[in-house]
């Protein structure tokens, strides 16, 4: 099953971010990764959580604008050049990466990149052929 990222529209206003994290905490939703893209007035908070369905539901109920996007989790060898190798393959194959961010500190000691690409399955196949491991939900501690 694909890993689903939850994106949240946030006005640049004191306390907005903590409102989201508090809501997730209160509902026992664990954060696996977080990334924020911002412009001058607003930002898009992107999170990988332990339960994306539940996170979407809770945030929507509290009036946040949210959406869900399938993303690709890729494990990166934790040594110099690990990420460079991954990006080289993507560049060779001319895959566009809209954005990416990292997850460190997994229980298994691996580092992961979250990639936002157009065709997840195709990118996954190409990477797997090159011996790069792509993660599933369980591996990242995601229930749904």
């Amino acid at each position: 099953m694909d890993i689903h990222q939850v994106s949240v529209f946030l006005e640049n206003q004191a306390g907005k971010l903590s409102e989201v994290t508090n809501l997730l905490a209160d509902n026992d939703i664990d954060l696996r990764a977080i990334n924020i893209a911002e412009s001058s007035d607003y930002g898009i908070m992107r999170v990988i959580t332990s339960d994306s369905e539940k996170a979407l539901k809770i945030l929507r109920e509290h009036g946040f604008i949210v959406n869900s996007t399938a993303v690709l989790g890729v494990s990166v060898p934790d040594r110099p050049g690990g990420l460079a190798h991954l990006l080289r393959i993507l560049a060779q194959e001319k895959f566009d990466v809209e954005y990416m961010y990292s997850i460190f500190g997994q229980p298994n000691g691996l580092a992961y990149m979250i990639l936002r690409v157009d065709d997840i399955d195709e990118v996954r196949n190409v990477l797997e052929q090159d011996g790069i491991h792509t993660a599933d939900c369980t591996e990242l501690g995601i229930n749904s």
Partner: protein, 432 residues
């Protein structure tokens, strides 16, 4: 083929019509002078006597009536005849201050229903039609005004009043309503409800007559599509009669003003100077026949333009464009006239909700304009670039419409305060 309710007057020779107006105006000024001490005092203050008014050319000599006058003369000060002659009243909602109470004699109601009958026939109505009236009945002029015109045309009239959508749809289907009359926003809502209920194939509407609130051409297209009809605009205000002061014909391009009953002028809202026809300005009306509540040179605050070009429908009445805003709403930003309604129509066109706020400020001696609009789930994306694109497009469309740059600020849903009455659309922080 074009149908008319009263072709002899609706298509009258312009010179003939002018003669009628001249004669009626002289009589009306005498009527007011003799019966409305409040207005008589205004005339005396201006040094005008009824003898000075020989026809429409002298209209400019008369003093204006404003909303403030109506407030001051409330409730009976502008009534034009004795209480025994009054048979009905109507009233405004009073959201912008004191409510207006208008009085009608039986003759006033008759001329009003002639006006709305003309509108129904211009929308293609005749006695074979089933007219569903979903305007409110009561103090509001909409329901009764169209109702009486519909009787005059001889249509089977459904006095539904507003609300209870389920019942509206049931009657519409069961009785085969052909003409719908209501506010444009309710028409849009009924269109959605019909779609949701899967009743599109079961309704027989051919036309709609919509008024009492501002609506855009985009909204007209949406309503026409969702209901499968031609949608006609109608204009009016309680101070004059109610709906039917002006009505649209098959051209759907401007509303014919019932000039045998009303004279329209366009003035500069600041200098009060009369502007030539074809110039944008504030609409001022004089009622020629109404005796119960006769208005001479009543300032509507509606900003619009009059056109007297020949209309393909054959009517000779002057046409007024859809009001583009209200002179009391008009903002002057960097020397440019900006109406909130212009901003609203751009927002709707670009898929944004009509809930917005305009912030005007002055930074370093230069005006700034910011439009705050709420983000919607449909416009949201996880991709910042895509949202930036949408923002840029909106800024471009606003620039095209207004002629000046407006900063766009996307805000969280429900963060713009909703009010029960009229929404606060403009916050002007300039200290001038």
């Amino acid at each position: 083929m074009t149908k008319y309710f009263q072709p002899e007057i609706e298509c009258a020779d312009p010179a003939e019509l002018r003669k009628i107006q001249d004669e009626k105006l002289v009589k009306q000024v005498w009527h007011v002078w003799n019966n409305v001490p409040y207005y008589r005092a205004k005339m005396e203050a201006k040094g005008v006597k009824p003898e000075d008014i020989h026809g429409v050319d002298d209209l400019h000599k008369l003093p204006f009536l404003s909303k403030a006058d109506l407030k001051e003369a409330y409730p009976y000060g502008l009534m034009g005849c004795s209480r025994e002659e009054i048979v009905r009243i109507h009233s405004t909602s009073g959201t912008t201050g004191k409510r207006v109470i208008a009085f009608y004699t039986q003759e006033d109601l008759d001329l009003w229903s002639d006006c709305t009958a003309r509108a129904i026939v211009a929308a293609g109505g005749d006695k074979t039609d089933v007219v569903q009236i979903s305007y409110g009945y009561g103090l509001f002029t909409g329901g009764f005004g169209i109702n009486d015109g519909s009787h005059k045309v001889g249509c089977m009239t459904l006095p539904m009043s507003s609300g209870n959508t389920e019942r509206q749809l049931q009657f519409m289907v069961d009785l085969g309503s052909t003409i719908l009359c209501c506010t444009p926003s309710y028409a849009a809502y009924l269109g959605e409800s019909i779609k949701e209920a899967g009743l599109r194939d079961k309704i027989h509407l051919k036309a709609g007559i919509f008024g009492a609130e501002a609506w855009s051409e985009e909204m007209r297209r949406d309503i026409e599509k969702s209901l499968g009809i031609k949608a006609y605009d109608i204009y009016g205000l309680t101070e004059l009669t109610g709906p039917g002061v002006a009505y649209e014909c098959e051209e759907q391009h401007g509303m014919h003003i019932n000039e045998d009953h009303f004279i329209a002028e366009i003035i500069d809202p600041d200098t009060e100077e009369v502007l030539p026809e074809g110039t944008v300005g504030e609409l001022v009306f004089t009622s020629l026949d109404k005796k119960g509540f006769p208005m001479l040179r009543y300032r509507t605050h509606d900003i619009c333009v009059l056109h007297r070009e020949k209309c393909s429908c054959g009517r000779t009445f002057v046409k007024m464009a859809k009001p583009m805003g209200r002179s009391d709403d008009m903002l002057i930003i960097k020397g440019v006239n900006v109406f909130p309604s212009q901003i609203e129509s751009v927002l709707i066109d670009e898929g944004f909700p009509a809930n917005y706020q305009i912030i005007v400020d002055r930074v370093n001696n230069s005006d700034t304009l910011e439009v705050q609009v709420e983000m919607t789930p449909e416009l949201f994306s996880d991709n910042l670039g895509k949202i930036n694109e949408i923002e840029k497009q909106l800024i471009g469309s606003l620039k095209t419409m207004l002629g000046i740059y407006a900063k766009v600020r996307l805000v969280a849903p429900k963060s713009i305060t909703r009010s029960e009455g009229k929404a606060v659309r403009v916050i002007d922080k300039r200290k001038i």
